[in-house]
């Protein structure tokens, strides 16, 4: 079970208090009534579903109630950072962290674990 740092409560809390809320940094178009079908599809239906580093939204629904953003590695399930809603997409904190992700991307898959133990 994940342990998630809530940027509003400033504390790590159990996943049980949270609800996942989809990919982050997809702003609702200001002129939504006027956009094309393609733009609407891009906004509402299409998601990247990336393997590895992903930016996503969570809500501390059974805590402070706030939505916030998280950078998580979907392969290792590691949270690299969480930050408040409304802030722009944050860079990953340090070079070491990025390196760690790259490293995990190469070895930390179930396929690798199962087929290629060193």
């Amino acid at each position: 079970m994940l342990l998630i740092h809530c940027p509003y409560c400033e504390e790590d809390r159990s996943e049980l208090e949270f609800r996942w809320a989809g990919e982050a940094h997809i702003a609702r178009p200001e002129n939504i009534a006027a956009i094309t079908d393609e733009e609407f599809a891009e906004y509402f239906f299409l998601r990247n579903n990336e393997k590895g580093l992903t930016y996503e939204r969570w809500r501390h629904i059974h805590g402070c109630g706030r939505f916030f953003n998280a950078a998580r590695d979907t392969v290792s399930d590691r949270f690299l950072m969480t930050y408040k809603a409304g802030l722009p997409k944050q860079p990953i904190p340090t070079a070491e962290e990025t390196a760690a992700i790259a490293e995990e991307k190469t070895v930390e898959t179930w396929e690798a674990t199962e087929g290629d133990a060193r």
């Binding site: 409560c9 400033e10 159990s14 049980l16 208090e17 059974h62 402070c64 109630g65 706030r66």
Partner: protein
């Protein structure tokens, strides 16, 4: 108009009692409550009007004059007034009197509370609550909205070995039932 009498109050946990050799469980007496929403710039005005300094640090509460303000979120407090017993809600009026921008909703009847006390109180609550209830992480006065089994609660530590569990009324018998199980296990477990 025909006098058809004044309604009497029926508390959701009336008649509930329980616990174990290390945990006491009681239904709290009725209280006035509001869900209060205030922006940072208006916290001082509301604090003045309510007579309690609204805490701005996460997971903390403040009490004064029989009123307790529990920080639930960055712009959200649960106010509990245990001194008000009459009909109506003095907290609503006090907030109104601040003249400052806010939202207050009367939730006196939405919530009810269970008082959990005794040396095993933390263990009883940990039967369903995933938070760390050690005194270091959850000291006296600490409060948090959280999960208890399959329901949401607001937890307030009122003393080293005492907690107040605020819960929505229709979830209260479930919460009491799970606390009873937790209390029973707290008396026999490590």
């Amino acid at each position: 108009m025909a006098d058809l009498g004044t309604a009497t109050r029926a508390l959701p946990l009336a008649g509930f009692h329980g616990g174990s050799s290390t945990v006491r469980l009681e239904a709290a007496p009725p209280a006035e409550r509001i869900s209060l929403r205030v922006r940072a710039e208006d916290v001082a005005a509301l604090s003045g009007a309510l007579g309690v300094d609204l805490p701005v640090k996460p997971k903390t509460s403040a009490s004064a004059n029989g009123r307790t303000a529990l920080w639930l979120g960055p712009d959200e407090w649960l106010m509990i007034d245990e001194s008000g017993t009459g009909i109506g809600n003095g907290l609503m009026q006090a907030a109104q009197n601040s003249g400052a921008l806010h939202s207050a909703a009367d939730v006196s009847h939405r919530n009810t509370a269970i008082l959990v006390s005794g040396t095993g109180a933390d263990k009883a609550i940990n039967a369903g609550c995933p938070q760390d209830l050690s005194l270091k992480e959850f000291p006296v006065g600490a409060c948090s909205r959280t999960i208890f089994g399959k329901v949401e609660i607001v937890l307030l530590r009122t003393a080293e070995d005492a907690f107040r569990v605020e819960v929505w009324r229709s979830f209260s018998d479930y919460a009491f039932g799970l606390l009873s199980e937790g209390a029973r296990d707290a008396a026999v477990g490590k």
